[in-house]
Symmetry: C2
Subunit: 256 residues, 2 copies
Amino acid sequence: MSTPVIGIIGGNGKMGKLFAHFFKKNGIKILISDRDTKLTNTELAQRSDIIILSVPIDKTEQIITEIKPHIRPTSALMDLTSIKSAPIKAMLKAKCEVLGMHPMFGNSNPISGQTIILCPTKKSSTHSKWIEKLFEKNGVKIIKMTPKQHDKFMSIAQNLVHFSEIVFADSLRQQKMPLKQVMECASNSSQQKINSALTLITKDPNLYANMIIENPNALSALKAHQKSVNELLKIVENKDKKAFEKYFNKNKKHFS
Amino acid sequence: MSTPVIGIIGGNGKMGKLFAHFFKKNGIKILISDRDTKLTNTELAQRSDIIILSVPIDKTEQIITEIKPHIRPTSALMDLTSIKSAPIKAMLKAKCEVLGMHPMFGNSNPISGQTIILCPTKKSSTHSKWIEKLFEKNGVKIIKMTPKQHDKFMSIAQNLVHFSEIVFADSLRQQKMPLKQVMECASNSSQQKINSALTLITKDPNLYANMIIENPNALSALKAHQKSVNELLKIVENKDKKAFEKYFNKNKKHFS
């Protein structure tokens, strides 16, 4: 197989640029379409062997509908979104090879040494195998799972973690205390926790809104979190140290 | 002033041992009383120039009542608890020098390079100045504040942080997912966040129960946290991306 031409739709976004740079470094011919490019999504679809969607989750379906008639049956359609069930279902409507991908790293990191989750489909074939090998050759750790498994895992590894950080930042803001002084008298681990939440909220709100709101498994994980909060708050309100220790030890035991 | 004799009540506990080791290393004579020592708290109080209470917060008042008649007026009474208003109020009932202390580090760390918060009182004098200099000479960072300020700052730097970690661990447990697999497909920052919560719940539940339940400012901070959780969960439930971004940006703007 000769080296395929890769077209990235949304190639001027942060994640698109990162992958474009990666493919170029590997000597691969790249086409890019975005809101401000001369090349249209349709033209890109006609000319690419592998079409990668690097667009917000809620734009994926619309773009697939737009390019579907122009994809060659021998080409491959892949995506980079943080949700896999719905985008893969949408991609499978196209008459071509289909592979779901999810890079597990912020858009500013180098690709080598990072993890990419792949969700192969019944329509994954030559191009899917080729890109997997390319990633592996470049030191990327590949994890394979079904779209359903992916979305379930991400409701924890992403949604629950992000939700917890964002609400922490919100309640920190409500205290109206000088952050510098709080940080000065905080332990190292508290400083890390505070910094971690404050780093997250410097990022793109739209990305996090999409990740949480589009994941079909997020809500049940977040509702469990609310339940945990309500339960422990009630214990603190009742000054019930025995119940606090029971709550604490239940988790200590579970994870030990 | 000759080097004072330091008596540590609860000196066989983790924090007590850490400070005993520190004082010994500095060539200071140490007395220790604990549940299993021959030396009683009363005897220790009679023989010490500086008496340090290294006992659970909810035992402090009881022990002060026990030793109060035996403390020499020229001696000093100090504590190591994570709350300052109530213990200092209780210590001030004794007719001696009084200093509140709070070491901002886990009980397994070396003292040098760490932070100790001091809450001087109107009855802080010679021994208080001496111990402050000893800490500084050993590379300890000293921060001074009033007991009220201390408890307000700790409701954030400790209580809010710990609460958030403990409820996160609880909601993680509820998911009944294989932690190893979740960790494998999590980003570095998510792994750190999960590890941080799982590290906290390996610690002593009684210590955390005391810190949260005894701090007079904790409940209002935790209720604000509950409000933040309820608000964002409702937004996710309504799939309202605009409201999500508004919530996110409000905090982004506040902390930028």
